[in-house]
């Protein structure tokens, strides 16, 4: 058995593989933020056991701690699940960044954060904003450092099938996302209401900060980090809340509003 540890955003995860070659094969293609860091204490350990062969191809069992995740999976599926688990837990245990459940787009070198729970329409609005001219950051996660700057996770956008036709973006967008951390220009807390509507009113920074903390995936694990990074994110940002209807119409109006903030200034 071979144990291999990987780190990202302060999270250390360990995979225990039948042998080194298997470990290399199953961890190939992990997102670039993962680095080898053997010897550090892991917050979770995944055991991968060879369970047999089918037509000469190995099959694996994957165990998360003491919990079996899948049995008898082929290499592709095992690797996909392992990568998915790594990405799942990094947001929960990160110690360097607060991970906010938020869509992220970039305008004039600054980030627009749109926090919200699942099915709030983050992906749809982010996609519409990108089609309207914003840069892509991520459709679901914002990693914010202690200075309040956002690092784009740049994962491929994942639209639900029912809206994918209207708002589809190429998965290759992930490669075009802004690589360096950018400060936050605006935090927009928007709820969906059908119709051609954008009602956006100013929200004070305390109101924006509490929304971010309520949507922070590592807040329970590290409350102090969540609070400090949320406060840093809203510092200097324009914050607003309201309702939005059709994403395409809303996106155009949002960018118009953001552009009028004159984001080229050092402070909004």
């Amino acid at each position: 058995m071979t144990g291999v540890s990987y780190c990202a955003f302060g999270t250390v995860l360990t995979g225990v593989f039948p042998d080194a070659a298997c470990g290399a094969e199953l961890t190939e293609g992990l997102p670039a933020h993962w680095e080898r860091c053997d010897g550090r204490a892991a917050v979770r350990t995944f055991r991968i056991q060879r369970s047999g062969d089918v037509s000469g191809e190995s099959r694996y069992d994957l165990i998360d701690g003491d919990t079996p995740v899948i049995e008898g999976a082929d290499t592709r599926r095992t690797a996909a699940l392992l990568h998915g688990l790594f990405e799942y837990y990094v947001a929960e245990y990160a110690t360097t960044h607060a991970f906010f459940h938020a869509g992220v787009v970039v305008r004039h070198g600054k980030a627009i954060l749109m926090p919200g729970p699942s099915r709030a329409g983050k992906t749809t609005l982010a996609a519409a904003l990108v089609r309207a001219g914003a840069g892509y950051g991520d459709d679901d996660l914002a990693a914010v450092d202690r200075n309040g700057c956002v690092r784009a996770m740049a994962r491929p956008p994942r639209l639900r099938p029912d809206v994918a036709t209207d708002y589809a973006l190429p998965a290759t967008l992930a490669g075009t996302a802004v690589a360096d951390p950018v400060p936050v220009a605006a935090v927009l807390v928007l709820a969906y209401r059908p119709g051609p509507v954008l009602e956006l009113r100013p929200l004070d920074r305390g109101g924006a900060a509490i929304r971010l903390v309520a949507n922070c995936l590592n807040a329970r694990h590290d409350p102090d980090l969540a609070l400090r990074h949320a406060a840093a994110a809203v510092r200097g940002a324009w914050c607003g809340e309201g309702l939005r209807g059709d994403a395409v119409e809303a996106a155009a109006q949002i960018l118009d509003r953001i552009d009028n903030l004159d984001l080229t200034r050092s402070a909004v």
Binding site: R77, G84, G206, I210, P223, D224, V234
Partner: protein, 162 residues
């Protein structure tokens, strides 16, 4: 509690003049309006209602009427007690704080609270081409084509024996 005291074990940070609090016991985050914060800062177990009103009048912008300050102190106390932010659980203030019903809208504007869901509950569920791509039960069961069996997400047809 005639001498309200902040509960131990809370985390907080300032945002402009306001205070954002995280309560790891109840997994809630709270936002204290700047006037409520003036009250909160003196909730150290040594200030009674009169002292809190006096302190608020000293910290608040000039011209705040005493009756209004008293209302704010009572509403803040009500909000803090309701959200379990004071040392005595379920504290009502007894006779020490005003027995008049505080306006709910005032309480809500002074102490706003939101629940912080667990990682699993907050998880977005990306569309998956294959049920096995779902690694958590929430996402699996949200997909009408899939069903969660023990620790694995499988197609409905498997569960039906088809």
């Amino acid at each position: 509690v005639s001498l309200p005291k902040q509960r131990d074990g809370l985390f907080s940070t300032s945002v402009d003049d306001e205070l954002i609090i995280f309560d790891p016991v109840h997994n809630q985050t709270h936002r204290l309006h700047r006037l409520a914060r003036h009250v909160w800062d003196r909730c150290d177990g040594s200030h009674d209602r009169a002292a809190l009103i006096e302190g608020l009048l000293a910290d608040a912008p000039p011209g705040l009427p005493e009756a209004e300050a008293a209302e704010i102190v009572d509403a803040t106390f009500a909000g803090l007690a309701e959200q379990n932010l004071l040392a005595e659980p379920g504290a009502t203030g007894g006779r020490a704080f005003s027995r008049r019903a505080v306006a709910r809208t005032l309480v809500a504007s002074l102490v706003a609270s939101l629940f912080v869901p667990s990682r699993a509950a907050a998880e977005s569920c990306p569309p998956a081409a294959d049920c096995s791509e779902y690694t958590n039960r929430t996402c699996c069961t949200a997909d009408p084509n899939c069903v969660w069996l023990v620790q694995i997400c499988v197609p409905n047809s498997v569960n039906d024996g088809g």
